[in-house]
């Protein structure tokens, strides 16, 4: 167990390779649910939750079933089915055992199945870990999933804050709505480029 690697993975997933702003994954919810700050937090929490659980499950299935049985070509089909059923399961479990959490996350959960960020983290976990040069271990995969979800939440919250301020601003007509959202996202992404300076790639990992 190597904590330095876990820290590298977390900083990498949250700041340097932010899922939304650097890898450009999960843009549909990023633009769709970022109109209100409260909604953005709810969506972010739900995504983080599902991404963590989904990484744990897909990693286990990939390592203990798909790879030993030489079925890696079924990855896409299996992963998406696992994610879709996990989302359903999470929804049911939450509804039964934690109605309060269900109230706040419930409406976002069905949207997550088609959020490409969840499938993407499962696929990234089945490839080589860029920090160690080896396969992801279970803990690394789980941390990667949660950290990517946190990165998604950070981007979504930033965007929602900006869009709440811009709502009342007078804007040139053709730029209203989506184009303005894209420009704000571009500016935030530009700022996130600065985090490249934190990159560990040249340093030898712990």
């Amino acid at each position: 167990m190597n904590f330095a690697v876990l820290i590298q993975i977390s900083i990498g997933a949250i700041l340097i390779n932010n899922f939304v702003l650097a890898r450009m994954l999960g843009l549909c919810p990023f633009l769709g649910v970022s109109k209100k700050l409260s909604g953005a937090f709810g969506m972010g929490m739900a995504v983080t939750f599902v991404m963590g659980i989904a990484s744990a499950f897909t990693w286990t299935i990939d390592t203990f079933i798909l790879v030993p049985c030489d079925l890696s070509y079924l990855q896409t089909v299996i992963f998406i089915l696992v994610i879709a059923s996990l989302v359903q399961l999470v929804e049911m479990v939450l509804q039964k055992f934690s109605p309060a959490l269900y109230e706040s996350l419930g409406i976002y959960l069905p949207l997550i199945t088609t959020n490409c960020a969840v499938l993407a983290v499962a696929l990234i976990n089945s490839r080589e870990n860029p920090f160690t040069g080896k396969e992801f271990t279970f803990v690394e995969a789980f941390v990667n999933g949660v950290a990517s979800g946190v990165g998604f939440t950070v981007a979504l919250a930033l965007m929602a804050g900006i869009r709440e301020k811009l709502e009342l601003a007078p804007v040139w007509k053709p730029l209203e709505g989506l184009p303005l959202a894209f420009i704000s996202a571009g500016l935030v992404a530009l700022a996130f480029l600065g985090f490249l300076g934190l990159s560990f790639s040249s340093a030898t990992g712990g």
């Binding site: 549909c28 007509k173 730029l175 989506l178 894209f182």
Partner: protein, 199 residues
Amino acid sequence: MIAEELKRGVVGENPIFALALGLCPALAITTSVTNALGMGVAVIFVLTGSNIIISSVRKWIPDKVRIPCYITIIATFVTVVDLWMKAHAPVLNRQLGIFVPLIVVNCIILARAESYASQNNVRKSAIDGIAIGAGFALSLVAIAAVREVLGNNRLFGLTVIPGFRPMLVFAVAPGGFFTVAALLAIINYLRLKKERSRQ
């Protein structure tokens, strides 16, 4: 009829600029026109194939489990594309990376399955797949052309404007956002102008 459908897919119901669906690949892989074309062709294939299969089995799929069924059908076609690309176009496959398997969760494909292929016959669904796919592919190529010329000053490996120093920002993530914003604004401007002249 086919020309009309194509016009609908490219202009009226353009997946990216009119419906704002399938944005992730539109921003992530449009750093070069070659990548955009590869992605566009892959999406046309998956969309047409899944539309044909879904519309031909639409009467047997129970309503409650239709989404998982659609996703399985789509995932099968995506796996076909992925394996084919790995065998015959490994360079392109490496460039597109995880965005090839991610075609599964491209919102356009599920949206067409749900709103069109599950209600129309096979022939119409096939044409719809080609039309909407062509709209998607053309939008990708348009975005990629802007980004590649401004970001690298290159198109299909040739220098476009001699002596022009490329703006690197267009080759990375923020440039993608800015390009789409600019293209959307131009389209909105033209549409508003047309509406105003009609009044």
